[in-house]
């Protein structure tokens, strides 16, 4: 994980023009995060929400991510949209391997994130068992707002050069809900 303090960008005033100092990595991340070419690997009902997010009402183009590329070699982000069965897993793995660096992966929806309710012989229990994932978007399916949250989270992570997996937070959770959930978890995990 990159050290955030090293990525600090400073603007120094000087004369009429002024200049900016930054890390090359940070500059690159800043440039990359607003032109993400996507590979939609849509396999199930979540695909509908993905189309909805991409179409004008929610307009993914506002984030510089309007260009779907149906060749993995030309894309930066792999959207895994929907259930991945064990039989599809080699295909997904191969698509991921064909993408050129730098590449990011978004697990769209509960099935892609953890297998969802498909707890059986047929389904991959979360695509991170096969390929590394940057952002998980929970939901069955997630609303377009959650998808945009996921995309913005990914952009934020690219800007920070951070590759640790993160999950889109439930924005409807009230203040203090995280602590309450943690407490509940502690109680329930007691033998």
């Amino acid at each position: 994980m990159a050290d955030l303090s090293k990525l600090e960008t400073r603007t120094i005033g000087g004369g009429e023009s002024g200049f900016v100092t930054t890390k090359f990595e940070a500059l690159l991340g800043w440039a990359r995060k607003y032109s993400l070419f996507q590979y939609p690997f849509a396999t199930a009902c979540c695909g509908m929400e993905f189309f909805s997010t991409a179409s004008p009402r929610y307009d993914i183009a506002r984030f510089g991510a309007e260009a779907p590329r149906f060749s993995p070699r030309q894309s930066d982000v792999l959207w895994v949209v929907g259930t991945i069965s064990q039989r599809q897993a080699p295909v997904l793995r191969r698509v991921y391997e064909q993408m050129t660096e730098p590449k990011w992966v978004i697990a769209f929806g509960t099935c892609a994130s953890c297998g969802g309710f498909y707890d059986n012989y047929a389904t991959v229990p979360g695509i991170d068992k096969i390929i590394p994932v940057d952002v998980f978007i929970p939901g069955c399916p997630p609303r377009p707002e959650a998808v945009l949250d996921g995309l913005m989270l990914l952009q934020d992570k690219i800007g920070r050069c951070d590759r640790t997996p993160e999950t889109v937070k439930n924005t409807l959770l009230p203040e203090g809900a995280d602590e309450a959930l943690e407490k509940l978890y502690q109680i329930r995990m007691k033998p």
Binding site: R87, D119, Y121, T167
Partner: protein
């Protein structure tokens, strides 16, 4: 109305039709596996049945391994549903087979639409259809061992084609650690059978 089919079946096959029942418009006949294709042919060809439209073919594993032996008699119940467009009636014909590699004659000569359905039953239950032109797995992959819808197939056994990555896959974010399914993300090995 389609009790007519059951009556005709009983008249035609006598004791080979083991059991008939009707419930709210569902008419079911249980026949001996030896007469499986004959019955299908009769239901298809007989002008008063004329069930030319093939609806479905599938199976049920009737064994409950908690109480019964896996080599119980009549373990797998294979059924076919056929519909008559002409007479607008429907019938379900069932038969029962048993053993580790149960065998049954294919009804593809009667309804060619049965091809993929029989492949599915073979894939999920391991029932072999004699005379099937292409008896391969259809939903799972060739590397798959066993038949997943048999009651003795462990509910938590997956057979991944791609080796899983190393590392921990605990739940992230809003999920609690013990929420969801045991196969998916639990840190502890699954105890369920």
């Amino acid at each position: 109305m389609s009790k007519l089919i059951l009556e005709r079946l009983k008249a035609q096959f006598g004791a080979d039709v083991l059991e008939v029942s009707s419930f709210r418009g569902d008419d079911v006949a249980l026949v001996k596996p030896a007469r499986w294709v004959d019955v299908a042919r009769f239901v298809h060809d007989d002008p008063r049945c004329a069930c030319t439209y093939f609806v479905d073919l599938s199976a049920v594993d009737l064994c409950d391994p908690r109480f019964q032996d896996l080599d119980m008699d009549d373990r797998f119940e294979v059924y076919v549903i056929a519909y008559s467009v002409e007479h607008k009636h429907r019938v379900r014909i069932k038969t029962r087979v048993s053993g580790d590699e149960p065998r049954l004659a294919s009804v593809i000569p009667v309804w060619s639409g049965a091809n993929w359905m029989e492949r599915e039953v073979f894939d999920m239950y391991g029932v072999h259809f004699e005379g099937h032109p292409d008896q391969r797995r259809i939903l799972t992959y060739d590397e798959f061992k066993g038949h997943p819808l048999r009651k003795d197939y462990p509910a938590n056994r997956a057979q991944p084609l791609v080796e899983y990555r190393e590392g921990t896959f605990n739940k992230l974010g809003p999920f609690l650690q013990d929420e969801g399914m045991p196969l998916n993300r639990s840190a502890a090995p699954d105890e369920r059978n």
